[in-house]
Symmetry: C2
Subunit: 248 residues, 2 copies
Amino acid sequence: MKGTLIVLGIGPGSPEMMSQAARREIEESQVIVGYTRYLSLVKDLIQGKETFGTGMTKETERVRESLNLAATGKRVCLISSGDAGVYGMAGLALELQYAMELEDQVEVKVVPGITAANSCASLLGAPLMHDFAVISLSDLLTPKETILRRLELAAEGDFVTVLYNPKSKKRVDHIEQARQIYLKHRKGSTPVGVVNEAYRETCEVMITTLDELEGLYDRIHMGSTVIIGNSATRRMGDRMVTPRGYEV
Amino acid sequence: MKGTLIVLGIGPGSPEMMSQAARREIEESQVIVGYTRYLSLVKDLIQGKETFGTGMTKETERVRESLNLAATGKRVCLISSGDAGVYGMAGLALELQYAMELEDQVEVKVVPGITAANSCASLLGAPLMHDFAVISLSDLLTPKETILRRLELAAEGDFVTVLYNPKSKKRVDHIEQARQIYLKHRKGSTPVGVVNEAYRETCEVMITTLDELEGLYDRIHMGSTVIIGNSATRRMGDRMVTPRGYEV
């Protein structure tokens, strides 16, 4: 019997933000694999099921193990937060399915979720009403020159820009380099939103400007998302809005 | 009593792809406003409620009316497909809330949904594993020069690129101009995915290349989303995958 590996994003972290489809996939799976932290977010759904909780590294091993389990005919669900298709495990699952020559034994199914760009935008107001770029500041898998070059081009093109992984304990300088690049192309008064832990109990929503973003560096970490407005983005009360162009 | 306007995206079109939070907001609202087509997608949830269905234009009037209704103290839900925060009604709702000076009478709440970039990516495989740009090819509200310039910069920066509104009945040439721009920066063999009506019964998923995209123009319309791979994107069987950079 052909097994199934479902690669699934549960959204920003509140089980309420998960789709019905994702919930059903979890309920219908026999084995649930994911970071211990994510498993705890869906603990009510996975009671009584076989689970594998893991720490925050060894992605390749985790996906390989999930595929091997599915190859025994089981229905395996690999869960992550946000959308598994954005800097997530969906690509690795498909790459390894082919590298391990499991196309005939395992079907890989990707179930979309609400990614940080969208969940954080909703908490900030409406910053993504116009063309935007999504860039990860992590250089673990991407050369730093590539990251800087993309920031430069996105800034030049007046894209609203969503920064994933803006800062980690070891990597603290990229966010300032990004800020300097954007200051070459946009006013210091450009609104910038910072959201920590969207839709969790520890959620924080902050709006500042490119000029004053420095003052928030202490509060930016791996669970943060930063959204830099374009030249039309305005602050309206406690919201950040990029007009699409309608006459109001 | 302060009223509430909830601006809500139901995701790609199957009610199953809506979040629990979105479903609850619809259930708790007194008035539901939206395109007739979207209202029909959630008809089971809105039985017995006051509804306003409208055609595909007059966005400003629709939002203004929704705000006026909310200002009477009601809980009004303005629904759209995808994510209301991406080229949607969220921005207009916040802009008009301020323009109409309703900050004290109406609370505007944005509830995120799964946008076409993510729903279409999941059907294609995993094209958004790396930095990406989202660009609308509609010039109804954006000067054409801005669109072309952003395409040029996104192509140059090797961003995976998601094209919203790639073609309409009256506007058929932008998609070809986009293709020509990407061909200056990427190989003709670069995978390109086209998804029509994601997660609806009429859903179509197609994978081609930059060279051969022309052959699909007849099948691309306003309900299509086009995803152009970056220089690393590969086709694997019937999937399109952008490796994130793990060793497999």
